[in-house]
Amino acid sequence: MSAMLDVQNLVKLFPLAGGKVVQAVNGVSFTINRGETLSLVGESGSGKTTVGRCILGLIDATEGDVYFDGEQMGRGRNIRSKALRGRIQLVFQEPAESLDPRIRIGETLGEPLRYLGMNRADRDRRVRDTATHLGLPERALDRYPSELSAGLQQRAGIGRAIITRPELIVLDEPTSALDPTARAEIVDLLIRLQAEFGTAYLLITHDLSTVRFVSHRVAVLYLGSIVEEAPSETLFAKPLHPYSVGLLASVLLPDPELTRSSAIQLEGEIPSPIDLPPGCPLAGRCPFADARCKTEQPPPVMVAPQHFVSCFHHAKVAALDHTTDNFARFQEDSTRLLSVGAG
């Protein structure tokens, strides 16, 4: 069985004035199966949004191919094409981008169904049904976006996407603008909707603390290259790329006992992706970098089923034994804490 979404060796360059080139995406490949969540994580400027836009056919890739349901995506066949309408959806970081401030929430939710040619009565039924799934109070349907909290607005943004029962939703930083409590509620909602409708998600985010439990698989993007890809638990428990180790060690959990002890210190900050030198994208910051890393791009190596790492020295990372999975320990501690005294 072939994957629902198949991204092959995607490259996206943005030429700048003066002959320089932004190498936003440099040969990214991954697949997403039906009903599955793949998270694409990486820091600002790593190319996440650009990958998303290529997948949706909103911009043409410089090189490489994207297949959705066996057929190629691009300008001619994109998220807005009639043949694909409603089958792929997009959710933005700012709910304001999916919600028109002058249109009531209920109307906005039903809008994508109009393009599908659904009649008024069916639309209204689907809107009410979707509101129930979203945990949106019925009263909210008559409100304007500005009358709702940021969390409820993002719920409506997701509702507008899920209402067509799409096969794939691309979520670009859906929780980054929210308070932690609202963020958690959106994550729960995404999990519930997926269980219900079997929708696949491409979750684009830099918020690692929500990634682990929504994702089946996680791909770590650095300067336009996927440096590691693994099932979620594997990546969080035993990352093998020096960058993944550094990234995960930077995540803070609300427990003073779970200190950030990283066996690997990354130097400095992520450079800008203009005219990148050859070799491994991390070479300038990596404690393991040697001459080869600076000239040769490390290919992805399969270290276990579904676990790929692009690092010449991943065996050295493995030997460091940095296996304390703070996320799992936190899960245990917080379960104990939260098990007392609720209403």
Partner: protein, 330 residues
């Protein structure tokens, strides 16, 4: 002018502070409702609350700069024994930027775009410390080094737009700390940064305030940060401190249902999270008489709707504003 205070003396004393924003069309919005907060020399206290809970209003009130149309309705703020809101602008200016400084997010907007970053630090030193221009430049260069700006001699002459977000935030920290202030207020200062950069900047801020012996009021929406960088935690909800405790005590035995809801947001057990979260109601449902948190509280009972709880001690150094606090077995 001011000597080093004895251990345990308060740098900041906020007592029964009420701040309101009057409005023509609606009732006055009470952004702060009776805040009591004492910060001792050298401590780092985390103030955590959601958007709109009053954190920035408190920071501004401490600096004596409540934004119009806001007014201090009751209570007072003493910084180093003085009420800044009662001082002349000139007197206040000599305190702000030197003894009391602030670090905010979006450092590029904070910095002057047409002045080199070295010069901006140097100006502060020159203005507040009464040193020569040359000495101020030397101090500024030392500060760039101290905040780990790579190649500081060259970066001294760089303009803000030539720096990454993380580097610009380091410069802002350098500006805040160059005069060895007594209190630094950090208002959501790392929220726009990537996680790896945020971790570096937080480590730096912590090291720097320790070295300089400053106290810190660390304001954030992210309770996770405070677990690692603060000695005490205060939780603010709708303009009231609802819980305050030492860090270890707080994270081991949180007492207020709202604190636990904040912690639950990081749990990835949806069932447990649901136990601590009541479905959000659409604005305006809060009763004016009872507990401000009642509409979202999973432990509320009839009493909560009729009677506002006061901030009461649960243990030494640990106080909770709740009729039915959770007393965890830990």
């Amino acid at each position: 002018m001011t000597g080093v205070p004895a251990a345990g003396s308060a740098i900041l004393e906020v007592s029964d502070l009420w701040v309101g924003f009057p409005s023509y069309r609606e009732q006055t919005l009470h952004a702060l409702k009776g805040i009591d907060l004492r910060i001792e020399a050298g401590e780092m206290i985390g103030l955590v609350g959601e958007s709109g809970s009053g954190k920035t209003t408190l920071a501004r009130a401490i600096m004596g700069l409540v934004p119009p149309p806001g007014v201090i309705e009751r209570g007072r703020v003493l910084f180093n024994g003085r009420d800044l809101s009662a001082q002349s602008d000139a007197a206040r200016r000599s305190v702000l930027g030197r003894e009391l400084t602030m670090v905010i997010p979006n450092p590029r907007a904070e910095l002057n775009p047409v002045l080199s970053v070295g010069r901006q630090i140097s100006n502060i030193a020159f203005y507040h410390l009464g040193v020569s221009r040359q000495e101020a430049d030397r101090i500024a260069l030392d500060m760039l080094r101290a905040v780990h700006i790579p190649d500081p001699e060259r970066r001294f002459n760089a303009y803000p737009h030539e720096l990454s977000g993380g580097m610009a935030q380091r410069v802002v920290i350098a500006i805040a700390l160059v005069c060895s202030p007594r209190l630094v207020i950090s208002d959501d200062a790392t929220s726009g940064l990537d996680v790896t950069v945020q971790a570096q900047v937080l480590d730096l801020l912590q090291t720097m305030v320790r070295e300089k012996g400053a106290a810190t009021l660390f304001i954030t929406r992210d309770i996770a940060i405070t677990a690692h960088f603060c000695s005490r935690i205060a939780i603010i909800y709708a303009g009231e401190v609802v819980e305050i405790a030492d860090r270890r005590r707080f994270f081991a035995r949180p007492g207020h249902p709202y604190s636990i809801m904040l912690l639950a947001a990081f749990s990835h057990n949806p069932a447990l999270r649901a136990r601590w979260t009541r479905a959000e109601e659409i604005a305006g449902a809060t009763p004016s008489t009872g507990c401000a948190f009642a509409s979202r509280c999973v432990r509320r009972q009839t009493r909560c709707l009729n009677e506002a709880p006061s901030l009461r001690p649960l243990a030494s150094g640990h106080a909770v504003r709740c009729h039915f606090p959770v007393e965890a077995q830990a």
